[in-house]
């Protein structure tokens, strides 16, 4: 009975009900859009950081983490590589020799981190070859080729085939210098790499430091592989320190936490706006029906039935509008996740923070039911005050108005 009456009451003033339903639909849609947009920010940042900088897992000598010295090298690299090479969940492994040094051109110099890499493995692990914007990838210059970032090239005022001098300590702690020729200029999606990482062939660096030791093993996993499980496995086969990208770069956790917080705040703001809209409209609906509600109370309708009637009326509108908003949001996100949102006009600023200019909004399917619950809860809370107003009416007032 309460359901029927509530349902019919909704359609008593179609325009007003459609305004409430429309407001809820719009609120839910905008919430989905904002959450999905935020998710795309986080996903883009993580994707770039994994694919172009940290990979999923890195292995270091535990001492190297606190003091990145040449002598703190990985133990049993070959054993690890043999054990890991057979795993289908691993896409590629890049073993790097890493040294801090100076790079100098005829114009200026800068502090850099020198990565001695296996060209093929590095190309698969970080997509370095694809990031070249000029020159070639370790193929044309035979002696001491070097790849530097566009940013560093501009700073050093060098171009392809320019000569630069690298200075660093060898394994005996002797200062060593060698000249290299710029073979390629890259533009990484990682601001940190653009800032101060240069790539040389591992064989060249081995020769100059008089050592073949490896300092870092970067492991890129295939899509869907379990990172934590892999970390446990790698830890089980080595005494070195194994860390996931989240452990390497705490900013991931910070970003994740701030993203969750921001989404919650936005949800609360949107739902609050919705709440006030619902309270206002339902209050109007109740006050317009003062006489009728008074009559219902007079003839014997209990307070809790009147309360339920108003609450159900509001919740029914939420139940109609919620799925509509979710569907609209789902369709919008599906469409945008295929085509992407082009923010090219902010490309430079976004790049500084490690973002692409195109975002692909995404949202977990499990978020949809949660949003539905939030909408119903908002409708319920929004109905409480008007419902209290309705049950506070004195039935006699209605009789006196006759």
């Amino acid at each position: 009975m309460i359901f029927t009456l509530s349902w019919k009451n909704i359609w008593r003033s179609k325009r007003r009900s459609f305004v409430v339903i429309g407001a809820i639909v719009l609120g839910v849609w905008s919430l989905i859009f904002i959450i999905a947009f935020y998710n795309s920010f986080g996903a883009a940042f993580t994707r770039n950081a994994i694919n172009h900088e940290h990979s999923h897992i890195q292995v270091h000598n535990s001492d190297y983490i606190t003091e990145p010295d040449l002598k703190y090298q990985l133990k049993d690299v070959d054993v690890m590589k043999v054990a890991l090479d057979s795993l289908s969940s691993i896409k590629s492994i890049s073993a790097r020799q890493k040294i801090n040094g100076m790079i100098a051109s005829t114009k200026t110099s800068a502090g850099v981190q020198i990565y001695g890499v296996n060209e093929q493995a590095e190309s698969i692990t970080t997509g370095l070859e694809d990031q070249l914007v000029e020159g070639t990838y370790f193929s044309k210059i035979r002696r001491n080729p070097i790849l530097i970032s566009r940013k560093l090239a501009d700073k050093l005022k060098v171009k392809i085939r320019s000569k630069v001098v690298l200075t660093f300590q060898d394994i005996e702690a002797n200062i060593t210098s060698a000249s290299f020729r710029v073979e390629g200029i890259f533009d990484s999606k990682s601001p940190k790499i653009n800032e101060g990482v240069i790539y040389v062939r591992q064989s060249d660096l081995n020769r100059l430091v008089n050592d073949k030791g490896i300092h870092e093993l970067a492991i890129l996993l295939n899509e869907g592989a379990e990172i934590d499980e892999m970390k446990v496995f790698v830890s089980s086969i080595t005494d070195n320190t194994v860390r996931t990208y989240k452990e390497i770069a705490p900013e991931f956790n910070l970003m994740e936490e701030s993203s969750v917080m921001t989404k919650r705040i936005l949800t609360v703001i949107i739902m609050l706006a919705l709440l006030f809209g619902i309270v206002n409209t339902m209050l109007m609906a109740v006050l317009e029906r003062t006489k009728e509600i008074g009559m219902l109370r007079s003839v014997g309708m209990k307070k809790r039935s009147v309360f339920s009637m108003v609450v159900m009326e509001t919740c029914l509108m939420g139940l109609m509008a919620g799925p509509l908003g979710l569907l609209l949001g789902f369709l919008t996100i599906s469409w945008l996740s295929d085509r992407g949102m082009d923010l090219s006009m902010y490309a430079d600023a976004l790049k500084e923070y490690g973002y692409d200019a195109i975002f692909y909004p995404e949202m977990d399917v499990v978020t949809y039911p949660s949003l539905m619950i939030i909408v119903i809860l908002t409708a319920f809370i929004g109905a409480i005050y008007p419902a209290i107003k309705a049950i506070s009416l004195n039935p006699l007032e209605a009789i006196r108005k006759i």
Partner: protein, 227 residues
């Protein structure tokens, strides 16, 4: 059998500031099956008396008993239940639920009483038939004339099988034809359903049909005439 009994019933508005005595020391007994009109000029206390009998207003003094049960001692919740199961209300401006059809309006009161569907259906159709509006039962109040709406209101009041029906100026918004027709039907219901009717009115047509006429003046009963 006495359905309603009032003793020294009194209602004073604004007792602290400017006291206005609406009902003054009214002793009244209404027997089952009566067709009673409470008459008197505007402001004589008719509506206030009916409100107190209907449990909608609290007396300042005295008691109201319905079926031997004193309603002044009941809580608000008990009074709500009491009204649902003992009193039928007919209002001057019909007060039907606009979103429900005539049939649903009548059935509604039995839904509140939690009657089973078979009983509701039978009772609804039966009453609507007797009230002569079965053909219009699927229409909403806005699609009915004033007279038809008031018949639905009477049907609703009767549907709950109350001990008595309180009707506050039931014909005030009706034309002569509709008034005559409504009064005939109410008189018929009084006879067939043994329904006890108490009207407040100053409509002479209603007074003429009443079997008992109680006249109020300044809150006091000045005459009580059985016909």
């Amino acid at each position: 059998m006495t359905v309603i009994q009032t003793k020294n019933l009194k209602k004073v508005y604004n007792p602290e500031t400017i006291p206005v005595v609406a009902v003054d020391d009214v002793d009244l007994a209404v027997e089952e099956g009566e067709f009673t009109a409470v008459v008197g000029p505007s402001g004589c206390g008719k509506t206030t008396l009916l409100n107190m009998i209907g449990g909608l207003d609290q007396p300042t003094g005295g008691t109201v008993s319905v079926g031997g049960e004193e309603i002044g001692r009941m809580s608000q919740s008990q009074l709500t239940d009491f009204r649902l199961n003992n009193i039928g209300f007919v209002f001057q401006s019909y007060n039907l639920i606009p979103v429900l059809t005539a049939r649903e309006n009548v059935e509604f009161i039995m839904l509140l009483q939690k009657c089973d569907k078979a009983y509701r259906d039978k009772r609804t159709l039966d009453i609507l038939e007797k009230m002569g509006i079965r053909d219009q039962m699927n229409r909403r109040p806005a699609q009915l004339s004033g007279g038809q709406q008031q018949r639905v209101a009477v049907a609703r009041a009767l549907a709950s099988s109350p001990k008595f029906i309180l009707a506050d100026e039931p014909t005030a918004n009706l034309d002569t034809k509709a008034t005559e027709s409504l009064l005939d039907i109410m008189a018929q219901m009084n006879k067939e359903e043994k329904a006890t009717f108490i009207f407040s009115t100053h409509d002479q047509r209603v007074i003429d049909k009443a079997k008992r006429v109680i006249t109020l003046e300044d809150g006091r009963i000045i005459s009580d005439e059985n016909r």
